[in-house]
Amino acid sequence: MSKRIDVKDLNVYYSKFLAVEDVNISIEARSVTAFIGPSGCGKSTFLRTLNRMHEVIPGARVEGEVLLDGDNLYDSAVDPVTVRSQIGMVFQRPNPFPTMSIRDNVLAGVKLNNKRISKSDADALVEKSLRGANLWNEVKDRLGRPGSGLSGGQQQRLCIARAIAVSPEVILMDEPCSALDPISTLAIEDLINELKSEYTVVIVTHNMQQAARVSDKTAFFNIAGTGKPGKLIEYGETTNIFNMPTQKATEDYVSGRFG
Amino acid sequence: VDAGADGGESTAPESTVSGTLTGAGSSAQNAAMTAWKTGFEELNPEATIQYSPDGSGAGREAFLAEGVQFAGSDAYLDDEEYEASKEICGPDGAINVPAYVSPIAVAFNVPGIEEINLDATTIASIFAGEIENWNDEAIASQNEGVELPDLPITVVHRADDSGTTENFVEYLAAAAPDVWTYEVSGDWPAEIVAENAQGTNGVVSTTSSTEGAITYTDASAVGDLGQALVKVGEEYVPLSAEAASRAVEVAEPVEGRNDVDMSLDLQRDTTESGAYPIVLVSYHIYCSAYEDQETVDLVKAFASYAVSEEGQSTAEGSAGNAPISETLREQAQEAIDSIQVAS
């Protein structure tokens, strides 16, 4: 099921502003890859290019190639919808659908695509996804209530549940645990570990312990200065990045362990 | 020569016709047309008349564009239009039949006064804005014994382009050429600034609600307003159906049309006694020939009904217009009888 991703010479622009420059990276299938780096260095921007979500932002564009199991996402004949249905995403800012109940939010990927699903299957899927995101207990009594009435952390978990409900082959998560307490964080990390056996997972995190705990490989991004593009500085086995980074910048960054 | 011909003889045609006859044009005729339509459809249950009171100009245009089979118009087809009508009606062109005659009242709202005498020059001066008060000498001199108040005159005219305006100013231009030097058209002269309102109803209600106001209006709508007696020759003639018919009778036929056409040039400056010269004659315009017999029958039946004694009195009962005179009716019937199938 899961697929590998190879990125070749990727540049990302916001109109004229080069936000991310010259990224080359190979993400293994059935593995967890963590992106770390200072705020504003282009992690989210780069992550979005992996499933063509940057296209939604006016003016944003890429140069280069992203290969999913060898197939270029940016080939002119490729439909971004195909890409996105294989590569799911959880955003940095939780964005549940305000028009839908909690249940419908979880089922959004299924229902919005008009896939037929029996009530019992749907119920099972909702429960499974919400349990996976450690939200089931908190919302099981109010599945019919709007998703916008949840706390920040609950919304974030709802969005995770929504993303895994469609079982994409690759899951991109942009700081999925930023608003979560340690218990939920642990649950999500468990989920990631579970997902890994079948899917390819990429997460952005500011929490270095988390990166160390869950990821197989880590990519460190950095930015040379204001107005400069973000760059991939180092990419390798997580243990190597944290214990014997080859680059000075990486070492500086990971050694100031705060998270 | 055909069945329609007998239709004119008696007031109620014995043979019934069928089909839909469509007309458009003068809004002044609307009330009368409703009456004709209703009366005719009662006699001919198979037939339908539809008439859209879009305005005379629009009606003539639609007629010439073959959009409707007949037009109602406050003016007969002019020479250019007559020529154009030959395209659709064959070499004899269209026929104008005066079917609706209605006097135009000079109506005013001065408390306590129901009638005053005015000559053409005074009327023209008032409407031109030169006489500004009811107690003006020019009015007083013609109305001995009438208590004229010191009240400013508010002239109210039609805001829309209308046949009523055109006939009224035509009278002013003909009968008081020294005072009324403006162009004659359905539009009120732009030079004269005055109150105005849309439609007959509009001017009447504005006049009714404004003391000192004076206007001209289709006589049927005059209501409680005071009315002027208009000087013709040496006498002041009150408005009446007979006086209006009289004015139409003395009108001169227009030259250069086919021989049955009844286009009339009214003599506005007539001195004919008992004639009331401010009168609007509205025509029915038919083709001299139609494509098929069915249409011809229908047109003839309806046209005959409209000018028949019964038709005219039905209209009078509904619209308050003046029935056309016996002589006119005979001429009109003759014209209608000449309508035939195009060869």
């Binding site: 004949a77 294989q86 | 382009d161 600034v193 209600s205």
Partner: protein
């Protein structure tokens, strides 16, 4: 390259996308074609005017002399309508979205929307029979006390059926358009931004100027433009209310005319060149509408980056 699995994977749902985008493109083209043909129709019908001898045009001095005063009249009427209706409409919309007790707000919105339910003939009849006589008294007072201001120069109309009255009637007709659209947009202001303002200690009004109005700006301008369109194009109400005439500066005397009313009043009896004149007048109205809209779009686009679409 042809082995790219992503290319063929799409298949199934893609036709839906194609149909929908095709349909919306087709709708766009259809509208374009329709509106374009309206414009072409107008231009063709109006052409005779531009070839005609000036003396044949109403007024006898050419089309420009004929149309100029009416253009000014149209602009005056629309300007009065918008000057009154825009602030009032925004105020009412704010009242419904941010001031009225939540329980009643919907109902109030419904009540104001009723203004849009009233047909223009009725506005005309109301303006003529009810509003004008009331205003006539006020005009009289204005003429006596503020007559030195050119727009209030006397003698005031006795019937009250003046440009100002027509402008007020138009304002009332335009009001629901501006209110209804602005209200919907105000209601959509992200509560995040409202909260941001309030948390800084902003008063309700400050919150509105900080979060709501900037967010709604393009929408308000569009609403005003729709209102303007209505004000410019309204025929019946003006035709019934206004006792028109030549150009005057005074808004409380009879006089002035609007293009739409001029067309409505003269159309039934018009044919030939006169009809072409009236249609050419309609064309002029397009030019006015266009000019104002271009300015409005320009204002919106200047702030595009700050529209907060994200």
């Amino acid at each position: 390259m042809s082995t790219n699995a992503l290319k063929r994977a799409g298949g199934a749902g893609q036709s839906g996308d194609k149909i929908f985008s095709g349909a919306s493109l087709a709708a766009g083209c259809l509208i374009l074609a329709a509106l374009f043909s309206v414009a072409v129709f107008l231009i063709i019908e109006a052409l005779p005017v531009f070839g005609a001898d000036p003396s044949e045009i109403t007024g006898g001095e050419g089309f420009f002399t004929y149309i100029f005063p009416i253009v000014i009249g149209t602009i005056i009427a629309a300007a009065i309508a918008l000057l009154i209706a825009t602030p009032l409409g925004i105020g009412v919309a704010l009242f419904i979205s941010h001031y009225a007790p939540r329980r009643f707000a919907q109902g109030f919105g419904y009540v104001i929307d009723l203004l849009a339910a009233i047909p223009s003939v009725v506005y005309g009849a109301w303006g003529y029979a009810v509003l004008a006589p009331q205003l006539a008294i006020a005009y009289d007072w204005l003429a006596r006390n503020a007559g030195w201001i050119p727009i209030f120069e006397g003698p005031a109309s006795q019937t009250g059926r003046t440009m100002l009255t027509a402008g007020i009637v138009l304002a009332v007709m335009v009001l629901p358009i501006i209110t209804s659209l602005s209200r919907e947009i105000f209601l959509q202001t992200p509560s995040l931004h409202e909260e941001a303002a309030l948390a800084m200690g902003a008063t309700r009004w400050e919150m509105i100027t900080m979060a709501v109005l900037p967010f709604a700006r393009p929408g308000i301008i569009s609403a005003a433009m729709l209102g303007l369109g209505r004000a410019l194009g309204e025929t019946m109400a003006v035709a019934l209310v206004l006792s028109g005439g030549g150009l005057t500066a005074s808004l409380i005397q009879s006089g002035n005319q609007t293009i739409a009313a001029e067309i409505a009043l003269n159309f039934p009896e018009a044919y030939g060149l006169r009809l072409a004149e009236l249609i050419a007048a309609g064309l002029v109205l397009f030019v006015i509408t266009l000019a104002v809209n271009v300015i409005a779009r320009w204002i919106i686009s200047r702030h595009k980056e700050f529209s907060g679409a994200n």
